[in-house]
Symmetry: C3
Subunit: 311 residues, 3 copies
């Protein structure tokens, strides 16, 4: 197997707590059995009878139980227990994938990523390292997930855009050729839906967090370090800039932009683009202080009516 991220000789030796022969930054890109090794691979050998075969194989790193002479252009990892250390590397670098998940052979899954049971992963999906994909998640073809991403149970990434042309004979569907791209350190709650892009990508940028039952439409971009609370719905082609907070059950109309560090209070309906750095409320949403004033004014109508009746 190839490591999802290339390693150095020193990183591998440090991981195993053993010594090495070669440059500290000697590249290590994977590990394999001796009959299929390639340059960049680690091969292991623990019997003098096979030393030559291992040292002369295509592998450029040899995990060996004796400090022998290092061949030109190669490196050695000196281990008392090459077998055990090889197993340690396998455990460290392989992803854990439940036997009852359905995963396309063309999907790529990074090391230390855990795929729980009954997850569906479509063709050409890429998932980075240290991710945790909870049960019953569905990931459609071509979605891309970064490192340290957690996706809670039942969430759907990559469903089709809700985008139809009204023709006399029925709705004509615009095909969705884009992807869903989830950057590093994002967490997505349970039972969310993120539609794929029609032509571009639906993107959630680095470090943003989505609560449960959030919907994100096609081609929408959610910036870095945003917080999106439960049951919020964001239509297609929306741009949410960095560090925006949307509280629960907010709705955002298509093609709106919400500026950096804006806060939208619960149940608000964003019907147009909003400037950053302010707090909004209402449906349609307005600045919260304006909206609160309006609500206070509404409560003063009785005194106006009373005065009118006295005149």
């Amino acid at each position: 197997m190839k490591f999802s991220t290339p390693q150095t000789l020193e990183q591998i030796a440090s991981l195993l707590g053993i010594k090495y022969v070669g440059a500290a930054d000697f590249p290590v890109t994977g590990m394999n059995e001796i009959h299929v090794v390639e340059p960049g691979d680690i091969v292991f050998v623990d019997h003098p009878k096979y030393y030559d075969k291992a040292l002369n194989s295509k592998a450029t790193i040899v995990l060996i139980n004796k400090k022998v002479e290092c061949p030109e252009g190669k490196a050695l990892l000196i281990s008392e227990e090459p077998f055990n250390d090889f197993n340690k590397l396998t455990k460290h670098f392989r992803p854990f994938v439940s036997a009852s998940a359905s995963i396309s052979p063309s999907a790529r899954i990074g090391k230390s990523t855990i795929i729980q049971p009954q997850v569906f992963i479509g063709n050409h999906v890429e998932i980075g390292e240290n991710c945790l994909i909870h049960p019953n998640v569905t990931i459609y073809d071509h979605c891309v997930i970064g490192n340290n991403v957690q996706i809670h149970a039942g969430t759907v990434l990559g469903s089709d855009a809700f985008y139809y042309k009204n023709r006399p004979e029925g709705f004509d569907k615009l095909l969705s050729g884009g992807r869903v791209v989830i950057e590093d350190n994002v967490e997505i709650g349970a039972l969310c839906t993120l539609d794929k892009g029609v032509t571009g990508d639906t993107t959630v940028k680095e470090g943003s967090k989505l609560d449960n039952q959030v919907h994100v439409g096609h081609d929408t971009v959610i910036g870095k370090k945003c917080l999106i609370a439960s049951q919020t719905g964001i239509a297609g082609c929306v741009v949410i800039e960095d560090e925006v907070t949307l509280w629960g059950q907010v709705g955002v109309t298509s093609a709106a932009t919400i500026g950096k560090k804006a806060v939208v209070l619960a149940q608000s309906g964003v019907s147009k683009s909003l400037a950053g750095g302010k707090t909004y409320f209402g449906s349609p949403a307005d600045e919260a202080r304006v909206k609160m004033k309006e609500l206070a004014n509404l409560r003063r109508i009785p005194e106006l009516l009373k005065q009118k009746n006295q005149q």
Copy 2:
């Protein structure tokens, strides 16, 4: 196997690009192995040794590699490669069902329909032709789905009605004996819920499209060519007439009727029946132009208060 739709001799010959002997409209209703064939079935034979057996079987259509005399009341399909052509028909008419889907033996699935992994299909469910059921969908017993229907991941069809009688000792549940019926050319987004009818059916009529996370209550009828956007919730016993559009996060109270071609704007709450052909907004929803005027009036209270204070 029986075809989900009866074919004619000409249709089958045309599908295979081969010639036939018999009436163009000679009925072809399935295909099978020689020991179990019935009238209407295709049987194949490619060796003279077995010609008689095939021609005298109960099958009324013989796929054969020689133009022999056609028995009375039967038809021939003349193929250079009966084996390959028989396989072609199997591929064409069988549905594709993932091995990791859970499907009741009593469910019927039409040709060219694809069932993705981890789909659950209950007893006596009927699904038509050319449908695509995405992963992790759950279809309860007795639901009926037409042709050319697409259902996105995680959606649930046929959960129980939310209908209880409040008795001193606890809620008493009304049993749901109805079905969910999805007509042709409907598309349902990801993570939607459609409850089954209590006594009748919950129905989505021909050509309507539902976005993600839509909820439809028991016995509700959605007309033809409707558009229902994300996170809209429709209670039980609602009638939505044809060509209605409900935008995102709309709520509709139970037993309301929404007239033909009505448009309800996002986040509106439909608390009573609405006439067709108009646009509505607000919670409770009113005609959008009335509601917008109200919002404008609300902003004029300060000038009224100012005048009052001057008097």
Copy 3:
């Protein structure tokens, strides 16, 4: 197997419609094969050749086809068909678990409970008797479910709390160490999410009913006999007292308390604690009669403006 609830000799005899020898309340805690039986277990024997072995085994209840002398400290169940009656008990007390569900070996599932296909049940989960868990449900580690509970398809119990500390380098997640606890006679609709508690439990008390697509945040407590309609979202640390009704698409802010028998109308936004016994509406929610008056007043602004213009 051990029964999920200890039985008495009389209960077992009555279940089988047979006679017994021993005290009516003689304890029966399980049943097993003769080589592994323990005190409290039923063993069966139907051939005189094995009578002694069964009567002298560690089992304290012997299901036997002859009224023999009862050993000291033991009890007999006298059956004409011990084999058939033993099978009846197995069927009665075993849970039915679909082969395509993924269930942790450490989960405990009570008798007569049905687990449908593609359900995921995590470590140390406890599920009581007579429950029905529909397909594609996900239950995270440590959740506890009582008796007579029904959970509809795709629902997620025990996802993480949405609770982050905003640090310059990114959001820091508060770990969720609590549980979700569902008491007896609760029904939860399809595609709901209930987050686990951070330190305590997220609890739904006896007899409450949740519709589809409801979200319940961490550490929230829903009282007895509550009705929560579809698409309602309840934030974390909320207390909903007994017999409260929340209609569709209601939102409740974190840490609010809603008093006993309160009713909150559809689409309302509960922004602060509400006293019991009243009906509320609006976003932010207020008493419904106050809110309806406000809406009526809003419609009288035009006459105030008209009068102003006449002055």
